[in-house]
Point group: C2
Chain length 224, copies 2
DNA sequence: AAAAAATGATAGTAATACTATTATTTAAAT
DNA sequence: ATTTAAATAATAGTATTACTATCATTTTTT
């Protein structure tokens, strides 16, 4: 019955694949709602179980803890953006065009037609913006990295860095620049909403045109 | 007996000024050690009180909770960098030179001679890098911003953005660029240490020369 | 020496982050 | 359709966290 794609994720992220069951999908759906509404600190498996109307123990059969659930959501997002980029740049050869498409893909990732019915991409992007950094700012980062929990992000960064080098093979910091474009996107949207003195752009109602323009402006100067 | 400067901080950050007493200074000193060693998530006032050999209740007389203590430390850092920048750029008129000095000041903030004996600047910078974002990625950010808890960061960003405009008055995003230089600094140091595929630079033993070079490279291109 | 301020000692509570066990329901295989 | 297996519910329990409260004692200031 389901028409959507299935996002392939590192299976060390979960104990039981949430995409395989009704309850699993509800866990993803409701956790996205709750984290978006109340923030990751306030989010608990108890509240999630109340929201879903299941028991706490059932959730623990899918995810070891809330940190890994967040990392699962981040991986979902990274894979989703990878997917958008790959379908949008298919058959595009001009690297300048590719660059513009990549930027557009991740800046507007939340506006694209949702492909998986239990994931609200808009809310997911809000979570990436507000909570994403917490997945790797942990003492466990090295251990989790060794398990490949950040591979999807690295793939994303790698795609962008390749295009950067196609445009300017002399550019000395393709990975740093690629990473920075992603991080800057999240930061600037967040600052526009909460600490506006730290940015020049405004983001009203998730209208991110100004941000896209700024990223293109930065990249044009850097890669000239 | 104390020779150092006294860092002036927003008094809403604490219940009782830790700079005013022996115990207060110990709280700052030991919290820096503990957060650096074990991470902010593992850090509790219980562990802090054991480390200091005081009671938990005493710590609560200084700080409402560990989040505000972290925000206090961040503010300390921002003020410290503001101080470094202002003394290092005193009597410097050439904006290009000022820019270089500002960059050097915050990239090497931890290497400067410590001025306050109970604050280990190297460890504090590690905390800023690894935990800093957690201070504003909270549901309370708007409320705390309205109390001025991010003013010191805004002052920092403002100083840099003014120099950016002096160099290139046409540059369209001075605040975003300034903010991004600070955020990028922290991110790239962190990635070099933990997720090296996300960057091009290496940082061994807090040796950040490559980072400084990269920031200058980015800024030169952007402000040309 | 008296008063005020700071800290210690102790206790207690609600919430968090789990783990464990057994019962019941649902789905799959034969 | 029946048996078996898998998933979930129901319930209970524990150690830790993040506090708050009270009163005694020590230290500092006047």
């Amino acid at each position: 019955m389901s028409i959507g794609i299935r996002i392939a994720l590192n299976n060390g992220l979960y104990l039981k694949d949430p995409q395989d069951s009704k309850l699993g999908k509800k866990i993803i759906q409701h956790s996205i709602n709750l984290i978006d509404d109340f923030g990751f600190e306030c989010f608990t498996f108890k509240k999630l179980s109340e929201s879903i109307q299941c028991t706490e123990a059932s959730i623990y059969r899918y995810f070891e803890n809330k940190h890994l659930l967040l990392l699962y959501l981040m991986n979902w997002y990274w894979e989703w953006v990878n997917y958008l980029i790959s379908i949008n740049t298919m058959n595009v050869n001009d690297p300048q065009k590719k660059l513009k498409i990549i930027i557009h893909s991740f800046v507007f990732a939340s506006n694209d037609n949702p492909v998986v019915e239990f994931v609200n991409e808009t809310k997911l992007q809000n979570i990436v913006i507000a909570e994403g950094g917490k997945t790797y700012h942990t003492k466990k980062v090295d251990h989790e990295n060794s398990k490949g929990f950040f591979n999807s992000y690295e793939v994303l960064v790698n795609s962008l860095s390749q295009v950067i080098l196609e445009i300017n093979p002399e550019f000395r910091y393709p990975y740093a620049l690629a990473t920075n474009m992603f991080e800057m996107t999240n930061n600037q949207i967040y600052f526009a909403k909460h600490l506006p003195r730290l940015t020049d752009i405004s983001v009203e109602e998730n209208e991110v045109n100004e941000l896209e323009e700024m990223l293109n402006y930065f990249l044009a100067k850097l890669l000239a």
